[in-house]
Amino acid sequence: MVQKRFSLLAALLIAALVLAACPQPAPVVQTVQETVVVTSVVTQTETQEVVVTATPAPPTQGGVFVSASLSDATILNPILSSDNASSGVHQFLYPYLIGGDPFTGEIVPTELAESWSTSDDGLVWTFVLRQDMTWSDGEPVTAQDFKFTYEAIAAEAVETPRKSYVELIESIETPDDYTVIVTFSEVKCDGLGDLGLGILPSHLYAADFSDIMTSTENEAPTVSAGPFTFNEWVRDDNVTLLGNDAYFKGAPNMDGLIIKTVPDAGARLAQLQTGEIDTLALQPEQLTTAQLNPDLNVYKFKDDGYAYIALNLANPENPQPGLDEDGNKVEQDPHPILSDLSVRQAIAHALDYETIINKVYLGQGYPMAANVVPAVEWAYNNDIQPYEYDTELAAQILEEAGWVDSDGDGVREKDGMTLSLNLKTNAGNTTREDLGALAQDQLNGIGFDIEFEAIEFGTMVGEMLGQTYDMVIIGWTGLGTDPNDDVFWRLQFDTPGSGFNFVSFSNDRVDELLRDGLSVPGCDPAERAPYYKEVQQIIHDEIPYVFVTGSIGNTGYTTRWQGVDPGPWSFYHNVEKWTIQE
């Protein structure tokens, strides 16, 4: 999920599905629409009489929209797939229970559920389904389809990484074809997002789930309830989809949509330039080329991700879990250097964020102070200021903490320990490699001895989750619309080899806040916000991560399509209305 190489669009579309559990005010996402204006000289002006007709002209029909994916899909089943390339295809084929506002990320009743209500204790959710949604073979999409899908995830015969999506679901009842009642075993304010997977056509599968894993539907879905139907999948080359005339929001104006596999970034940009593809999530270094091209629009937005340097607070030689088998807190063997808060503060002050954002991220970023992105406005703590670049202050902090260069070799020592640390990132991600080189330079400038190394992604993930590193440059994408990120900070997720609290962050107050913030009865954002604002303050002060930059996404798309209205949470939300310019 952290890999930048995954399509940002796909990440956003997934993020759009990861929705907060409770009705809440819309988090406002700051968006900037950038359109390159082409100045043309008008040599002749003609006066035309405009005839106003009573009925507007019907939208132009036809055309094929082509997008590019960097890898091929693996399986076209929404409950079995776990890669963005697959969801990039099956998002067009399967219906969803709940929708997300493409601009705010707020949960909206734009899909199968047309309204819902919750019980007073927040455990029982009742969804009323729309009755005009059908599969492309004419069968109605019903409550049974939803129940079948979620029971399939839980079924023993089904091997899927999505098992955790049903963990808190106690029961799913369908009193009639158009009512779904989901009972949760505990209140989990971000749990509604778990109900956002694509829904399977139950009438095409065995009732005992025995053919879920092997069905040909996984490779060539015969029905669809989304804007397109499946046409053909040429492995490693392309997937073609045709407009679905039975789509409940109206048949798409275009004939179809093609998702091509184009693994090389340079080749993807070339294809966007020649019009062979219609859209691309642009990398920062591709932005200028796209902006200068009069045939392209660029949509810029603050997305739900950030880049950071993880600081291992525990001894990499002795990774320990945060809790023992009985659930008691384990005192961590501290990192010999990074457990010292002053060292972490010095690192946070030693980095020139402005230069990093301008030179490494080519301006496509913004400073971050803590772990919640401003896109999640209601929970974002505006009062915290990002650490300022101040090498003198950084040096002074180190001096005061006893880290001094006594032997004049340019590297500070304390109690016989030199300020030597390794810094790693995944090779091939040139942005992170550049950041690593710059950070190494800037830290060494104030008396650190940083050994920077770019290693293969799988190896890095192994070291990171294994907690055998000092510092790692990485990022999160697709964090979604809920501020809950307990897996990064809570003790129970500090499990060497698998847990995502791989910095071994151990803070009782944060543990408590994140637990309680997720189970506020009623899940009112106003009531939840203080929990997350305090968490941000503590994370900011304790510096388990050095927040380098928030992510800005840039989507390039050709001007030949009319009606494209991208939002930060979805590019394709109104795809059925797009028309090709003649």
């Binding site: 890999q3 990484p161 004939d255 093609i258 596999t261 184009v262 090389d264 989750l465 698998s498």
Partner: protein, 354 residues
């Protein structure tokens, strides 16, 4: 001849077993976890990962995994018949040993390369799927390399030391040294974006019908073939130049010249034919190369071939896919070498196959 081929094929067996052992332990000793790399998502729990590992047998020790991959038989402590028995897998629990023995029906000895972790398809099916694209590009590149490389090499030898020879040799070094990932993008930019003459990638123009159009296919083939052939032309022309130079110093060429044969007859009847014989030795392995694909070129040009398949399988830690491809390529290489040895005997009567 028959006995020779049979003996060579029998000799291939220990080679293949060796390849299987080395590649299996090499692939498995690379860092990275095939499950983790697929499930690097905070929403996926470790329990789920453990179940996935167990289903794939990745929780077993490496020797057990190897035996299972090689023979198709697997063992597990305890009664796990219920858990692993399926339509394709038959299991028996031996209470005395407290062990379950399963026959998965697979195993590379039985010609079953296993199942890809990424797509859950048979490895063999995925390889077969990519073969046409790889073959198409490989054959095109090989033919262009031969048809341009051989004459260039011979002409270089004929005009040894001339401007033509020097330019050819210089260009051969340059084209051999140009990295495909850079040169490929430059060609895409020039011919695809700036001039707009050729498509920027793919095997054909993608449309909703994906109808076969020969000219369209050829247009898509030009740039990737060029990239692959540049290296081939460079290699073959240099090889041919050396061989031709060696041949023209032999007695029979001197004799041919002495008896007054026309220069053309000397060069192309006597010299070329003899110089071509050693080419067989490099041709056999190239035929295997034609089928194994070219990783970088296929990636740059979005070519759905086997090189890219193997490469992405390696990146995704799809062990069965990588190993299946390695075994397949090994067999091809062995057969390619055998073929070139046999052809060598056919074209050169001095070589006896015994």
């Amino acid at each position: 001849m028959f006995r020779y081929v049979l003996r060579r094929l029998l000799q291939a067996i220990p080679t293949l077993i060796g390849v299987s052992l080395i590649s299996f332990f090499l692939v498995n000793s690379a860092p990275g976890d095939p499950i983790l790399i697929r499930t690097f998502d905070p929403k996926i729990t470790e329990e789920t990962r453990d179940i996935m590992r167990r289903q794939l047998g990745l929780d077993q020790s490496l020797p057990v995994q190897y035996i299972s991959w090689f023979t198709g038989f697997t063992v597990r402590v305890g009664d796990t018949v219920e858990e692993f028995q399926s339509e394709t897998v038959s299991c028996d629990f031996v209470a005395l040993l407290n062990t379950t023995f399963c026959d998965t029906g697979g195993g590379i000895v039985r010609g079953n390369l296993g199942t890809s972790i990424s797509t859950n398809q048979p490895v063999w099916a995925r390889l077969v799927e990519r073969m046409p694209a790889t073959f198409e590009l490989g054959v095109a590149a090989l033919l262009v390399s031969l048809f341009l490389g051989v004459p260039l090499g011979v002409l270089s030898a004929v005009y040894q030391g001339s401007v033509f020879d020097n330019i050819t040799r210089f260009l051969a070094v340059v084209f051999n040294a140009l990295p495909a990932f850079w040169f490929g993008l430059m060609l895409i930019f020039l011919f695809g974006v700036v001039l707009g003459w050729l498509p920027t990638g793919g095997r054909q123009t993608v449309s909703l019908t994906n109808e076969f159009d020969l000219m369209d296919r050829v247009r898509h083939l030009i740039l990737p073939t060029a990239i692959l052939a540049f290296g081939g032309i460079a290699g073959i022309s240099r090889f041919m130049r050396t061989e031709t130079l060696e041949v023209i110093r032999t007695d029979y060429i001197r004799t041919a010249k002495a008896k007054g044969l026309a220069a053309r007859a000397v060069w192309f009847v006597h010299a070329l034919r003899n110089a071509l014989i050693p080419l067989m030795t490099i041709l056999g392995p190239s035929i295997a190369g034609v089928l194994t694909g070219a990783v970088i070129t296929e990636t740059i040009f979005s070519w759905p071939g086997m090189g890219r398949l193997t490469f992405s399988a390696a990146v995704q830690r799809d062990y069965p896919m990588v190993l299946g491809a390695v075994m397949f390529f090994s067999v091809l290489t062995i057969l390619g070498n055998l073929l070139s040895d046999i052809l060598y005997g056919v074209v050169d009567p001095r070589v006896r196959l015994s």
